[in-house]
Symmetry: C2
């Protein structure tokens, strides 16, 4: 009955190519002033007591923490260094890293994890919190489409480089940490299907279906009909093509529309990785959609990145990665279901599975970094490396959570007696 | 993968002795006015559209609902009838039932379930809600002791008549609906132990330990040391005597003190059926106790009756059964853990298991009703019958929930990889 200890990191960034020479070059062209720079560095390191990090100034001087560093952060110039002390320091860090004005030698992931684990709940996570509202992107129906386009329409070929075979871009479920990413994404879809207790012939609505893997899995393996909504044109094209090719187009309908326009009544409602993009101000809309569409005996599942305490995504993630996104606390997720009298049946936190999923993604991404750089740019590669590695660190450090919430109508007794059936071979 | 449909009620009150003659007698002595009485009855029935219930007036006239009744409610006099329309109607119903001014013939449980399932979210549940604050009993350390004494110190012999062998007075866990109550209470303790992922030699704090069954189970079967807190003198005496008799007194310490006085550091924190008695205004106290006592790698479990939407217990339950009690929503339970940065790992809703547990209790209680009446009074028997049957109805109708919430510190990665180990034979 011992704890399944979190496994050693699946991948490490220790062996990533170092760009120290480039940083030194950038530094050489900047304005430089030794004394203020050292004061800034001491302030930065004071916010990370005991973190095994050293900062290397443009003149080559290394300032440490009294601990043997696992990573060295080379900063090219004073302007970059000062930006790290100001508001939205993580956005400055991200942009400077993207430009090569900051380089990290050594254990990049370990560095980020130290930052997220800092007592302030993370330098990246906290310093910018008071001006985060400036970054907020709304999620009106029009805006939601543009926000989704920003991230998900980068090209299916790009995502195919580093996602699993089924193109599932959400947290996988690893029955054991040694499972492959391909197997873990199938296991996740099966875990979700079991939690929904689907019966052959039932109808399912999916809000936010990505490249359609879950909808197709449910139709193929559980004999249900699925209507799957999405507003990413690139993803929908892929999903429809796949449904045709696999002979499932008569059972799975991919619909290019906002979740708020779902109509009809269904036996199950499922949404995996969309709630992050809904925005708190629209949780009532989502609740009304579920209330309007779920049959009296229906079951629902919401799967979302979350937090232990309310906090926006970092400015870097909001600005460069997911405009309009917000990771709810579990309190906020279940509060959504209160006004419509839904009953929460089951909550599972899969935080460490998301860290592990991201480790697989990052390793595959790095294996294709040259292709990505050719297709986009070096800067793009570096932004995505920081996003993936930063996400691993945030899930490992407990700054981000992953909640799966199963629910039914308050009056429904068509609910599972126990959860044992989820774990039958 | 079909749903485990909720089984047919384990027990029915159809065969309870009818006290119709007594009601008729009481009616004969009351003031009577036919026309206003019929108006009141029509108003009552209008609040229960389609409910298979008839009301029998003191003059013997039966007023129905257009549906074939499964139960007839005989009302002795106009005063009693009028009380059912006023505020705290459920308290009036309870007191009138206790006195024999109201009698129920037929399916008592079915009647109560119809009431809880009514569209208004229940006549008993709703009508009195606007003056419920008048009934609130505080839970200061002194008051908490007196509130607990009110219910739990009725005498161990009384509870032994109808609880299981281990004297567990909280929701059982039935691996299948056919399991015995004895087996289901042991299964519950094992389910809780597994959720806590205990290792031999670890230390556990239990807040609110009842007659000590869980503490003794954990020590005996999981090799842990337990410090168990309670403020019910009767329960503690029993628990200590049992620990001595079973040779576990060196590993289980039963402490006569309030949970707010817990000191020390422990590997696990568990509280089963105490949160209902804590009171919302003291959730912060409980959170601070957990934060103060849980080791960095520790695991915790809160098990509590709850609601889908915020609502006090009915005036009847607050006044006659559990002074100071409040059933939180899941939102309120997890909100308790936010300020201290705990991470919710797992939530399970065992609502139908509590309905089933109560069915066992009620059947055993009815089998001993004559002993209970001799020891206390006929009125006591009727209050407890209403409390037990009303609770079954409330859990069946979804008016009450039962949440088990597992948590760990936000920074702890010593958390289970999956939940599969909970379901290994």
């Amino acid at each position: 009955m011992g704890l399944a200890r979190y496994p050693e990191p699946h991948t490490s960034l220790r062996d990533l190519p170092s760009d120290a020479t480039r940083a030194a070059r950038a530094g050489a062209s900047g304005i430089w002033a030794g004394a203020p720079a050292r004061a800034v560095v001491r302030a930065l390191l004071a916010a990370l007591p005991g973190a095994p990090v050293a900062i290397v100034l443009p003149d080559g001087e290394e300032v440490g923490n009294g601990v043997r560093p696992i990573a060295r952060v080379r900063v090219a110039d004073l302007r970059t260094l000062l930006g790290l002390l100001g508001p939205a320091s993580d956005l400055h860090f991200g942009d400077a890293y993207a430009d090569g004005r900051i380089e990290v030698e050594g254990d990049f992931l370990g560095l980020l994890e130290s930052v997220f684990a800092a007592p302030s709940d993370g330098w990246l996570a906290r310093l910018g919190s008071h001006w985060r509202w400036l970054l907020r992107h709304g999620n009106s129906i029009r805006r939601a489409r543009s926000n989704v386009h920003h991230h998900y329409d980068l090209g299916n070929d790009f995502y195919a480089l580093w996602l699993d075979r089924e193109m599932v871009y959400t947290c996988a479920y690893f029955p054991t940490p040694a499972a492959s990413l391909e197997d873990a994404q199938v296991a996740k879809m099966e875990h979700v299907a079991r939690k929904l207790r689907l019966n052959a012939g039932e109808s399912v609505i999916e809000a936010g279906c990505g490249w359609g893997a879950l909808a197709l899995h449910l139709a193929r393996h559980h004999g249900v009909r699925v209507r799957a909504f999405n507003v990413s044109g690139e993803q929908l094209a892929w999903a429809r093509e796949r449904a045709e090719r696999e002979g499932l187009a008569d059972r799975v309908e991919f619909i290019d529309d906002d979740y708020r326009n779902v109509r009809g009544t269904y036996d199950a409602f499922v949404s995996v990785g969309m709630l992050e993009h809904v925005g708190r101000e629209h949780y009532g809309d989502l609740a009304r959609v579920i209330d309007r569409t779920l049959a009296p005996h229906g079951r629902g599942l919401l799967h979302s990145i979350g937090r232990n305490r309310p906090l926006e995504f970092s400015p870097f993630v909001q600005r460069r990665i997911f405009p309009g996104a917000y990771p709810p606390t579990l309190r906020e997720m279940v509060a959504l279901l209160e006004p419509v009298d839904f009953s929460v049946l089951d909550v599972e936190n899969l935080r460490l599975h998301y860290a592990h999923t991201l480790e697989h993604w990052l390793a595959r991404f790095e294996a294709h970094r040259d292709e990505v750089a050719r297709r986009f740019s070096e800067r793009f590669v570096r932004i995505w490396r920081l996003y993936l590695a930063g996400s691993i660190a945030a899930f490992r450090a407990g700054s981000l959570q992953l909640f799966q919430v199963v629910f039914a109508r308050g009056r429904s007794n068509a609910v599972p007696w126990t959860r044992a059936d989820l774990y039958r071979p």
